[in-house]
Every structure is written in C-alpha cells, then in structure tokens.
C-alpha cells in the first residue's frame, strides 16, 4: 500500500496522488465556502440587530399598523437575506434595507388598493393613540396636551400627503436622513426629493397653521 501525505493529510487509500490532491482541494474549497457562509450569516445577523429598529420604525410610521409593520419588517429582512450575496456595499446597508422596505410598503399599498373590497377594516391605530406616545419630560400637563394635539395634527397632515411625499417627509423628519441618503433609498434624484419634501413641509405647515 502506498501512503501519500498531501497538505498534512495522510492518504490511506491506494489511489493516485493527483486524484487525492483534487479531492483535498475540493474539501478545502468546501471548508472555505462553509466558513464564508458562516461569516456572512454572522454579518447579516449583526446588520439585522443594528438596523431592525429603524426599519420597523419607518414602516410603523408609514402604515400606523403595528402588525403590518412587523410583517413588512420580517419580509424586508427575509428579502435582504435572500439577496445578501448580491449586496455589493455600494450604498450603506441601511440605505439598501430602507430601499427594500420602501418597495415593500409601496407594493403593499398597491395590492391593498387593488384588493380594497377584501379589506373590511384596517388595523391601523387611530391618531389619538399614535400621538399618545410622547414622553412627559419636565413639561406641564397643559404643555403636554398641546404637544399631543400638535403631534396629532402632524399625523393628520402626513396622512393627507401623497405616498412619495410621506416617505420623503418621514425619512427626513423621523429618521433624520440626509437628502442624498433619501435620494438613494427612494431611487429619486436629490432635486426631486427636495421638491417633494418642500411640498410636504408646506402642506404640513399650512395645516398646522390653519388649525392654530
């Protein structure tokens, strides 16, 4: 019996060394792939952990529906996981994820409009409930009530915005993203983002001013 020692492995089988080298190469490749997959999985887990609150928050503010926001967040990360290999890091992971979330939300509204007859009721919370989440801080009761009332008015105004205006407005004033980031996430030019944002702010402002 001929024993071959290649790369520290002992070949106990009486086969040709070249065959064994090929097999060893495949095994090394497999090990490398497994390691790479593990690393990618770990990296993706970190991305999920880091960006999930932000994605959920954006979807929650867009839909005002806790269950729907959770579902869309899950879908967003599922889609991201499937396409994680194709993510080249040209934009930040956050921008990439936000783009997926915006598309999912868009699809949802489109499907919902198409199937409006199937929807008997909406799960979205009412504006009073949405505006209740204001920390009391050190302000007086009157100030808190006033602040809540104004937040409620903002919600009402945001509801009246077009889908694109709402997305841009929420990304700017809730997620505090830069115009360039919003442009990248929405796939619009910076000029268009600016225009949408300007119209959205003007409308919200007008409605707030008109009610005061």
């Amino acid at each position: 019996m001929r024993l071959g020692i290649v790369n520290g492995f002992v070949n106990l089988h009486p086969v040709r060394a070249s065959t064994w080298v090929m097999a060893a190469g495949t095994a090394v490749k497999a090990i490398n792939m497994a390691t790479a997959q593990e690393l990618a999985a770990e990296e993706f887990s970190r991305v999920v952990e880091r960006h999930r609150p932000q994605i959920f928050r954006f979807l929650l503010s867009s839909t005002r529906d806790v269950d729907l926001a959770e579902t869309l967040t899950q879908e967003c990360f599922l889609k991201a996981h499937r396409n994680w290999g194709s993510f080249r890091g040209e934009s930040s992971a956050m921008t990439w994820l936000m783009r997926i979330a915006i598309n999912l939300q868009k699809d949802h509204w489109r499907n919902r409009r198409m199937q409006f007859w199937k929807t008997t009721r909406t799960n979205s919370v009412d504006l009073d409930e949405a505006s209740e989440w204001l920390p009391s801080g050190e302000s007086s009761v009157e100030q808190q009530l006033l602040a809540r009332e104004r937040v409620k008015q903002v919600w009402q105004s945001v509801n009246g915005l077009s889908e694109r205006q709402r997305t841009v407005f929420l990304l700017r004033y809730v997620e505090e993203q830069e115009l360039s980031e919003i442009a990248e996430a929405t796939g619009l030019s910076e000029g268009t983002v600016k225009a949408h944002l300007s119209r959205a702010v003007a409308r919200v402002r007008l409605e707030l001013g008109g009610k005061r």
Binding site: S61, A69, S131
Partner: protein
C-alpha cells in the same frame, strides 16, 4: 423708508427684526412640533419593539385525526342504523314465518276435522247397514201395524 433706515434695519440681528421675529417664532414652533412628532414615533416604535410578546400556541388536532374521527363516527352511526334496520327486518320475518306456520297448522286441523266428520258419517252408515236386518216374515204383520211416525 429711507436708504439709511433700510440699512439700519438690515443691520439688526434676525431676532431684532419684528417681521422676521414672527417668522422665526413660527419656525421654532414648527420645528418643536416636528421634534415632538419624531420623539413620539421613536417612543412608540421602541415601546412596541420592547413589549413582551405573548405567543398563542393553539394545539389543533391534525387533519388526518379529524378525518379518522369523522370516518369512525360515520361507520358507527351507519352500523347502528343498519343494525337496527336488520334487527327490525329479522323480527318481521320471524313473525311472518310464525304466522304462516300457525295458519298452516290451523288449516291442517280444519282439514283433519272435516276428514274426521266425513269418516264418522261413513262409519255410521256402515254400522247402520251392518246392524240393520230384514224383518222376519213371522213379524211382518206386526211390522205393518206399526205406524212409522215415531209413536208406538
């Protein structure tokens, strides 16, 4: 307004200019409202994310169990109904056979009775013929005297 006044006006700080002060105050209020809005959404989202989740685990019997249960139930029901019907039919059959047997027995009895009656008459006739004798010639005159009306 003269050029000097305009220059003086322009030289003031933003807060010193009355018209701009109003705009500025409105801006500040609007910004404060937007800030409150942002905080509200953040707190709401964080609250939802950190809430304790309750998972309802509803143990449902599997579909094949439902199917098996239904099938068994159907078999039992069918067996019960079928058994009852068979039993009823069997009893009817027994009653019918018993009635037929009874009727046949009665018919046989009647036939036997009829046959027995006929044989009695024949027997009596035989007895009559056997027992009866011709009146002797010596008794002929007496026999002629007798009136055959049942009296002596």
């Amino acid at each position: 307004m003269s050029w000097t006044e305009k220059t003086k006006e322009n030289g003031k700080t933003l807060s010193e200019q009355p018209a701009l002060r109003v705009v500025n105050a409105e801006d500040q209020e609007f910004e404060a409202t937007l800030k409150d809005f942002r905080i509200s959404v953040h707190v709401w989202s964080d609250g939802v994310l950190s809430r304790p989740r309750t998972m309802k685990v509803e143990i449902r019997p599997r579909s094949w169990r439902w199917a098996a249960g239904w099938a068994l139930g159907c078999v039992l029901a069918a067996g019960g109904v079928g058994g009852g019907l068979l039993e009823q039919q069997h009893q009817r059959e027994v009653a019918r056979i018993a009635a037929e047997q009874k009727a046949a027995a009665e018919r046989k009895q009647l036939e036997e009775q009829a046959r027995a009656k006929v044989s009695d008459e024949v027997l009596l006739a035989g007895v009559d013929s056997d027992v009866s004798r011709d009146v002797p010639s010596a008794m002929e005159p007496l026999a002629q005297l007798m009136v055959d009306d049942g009296t002596k």
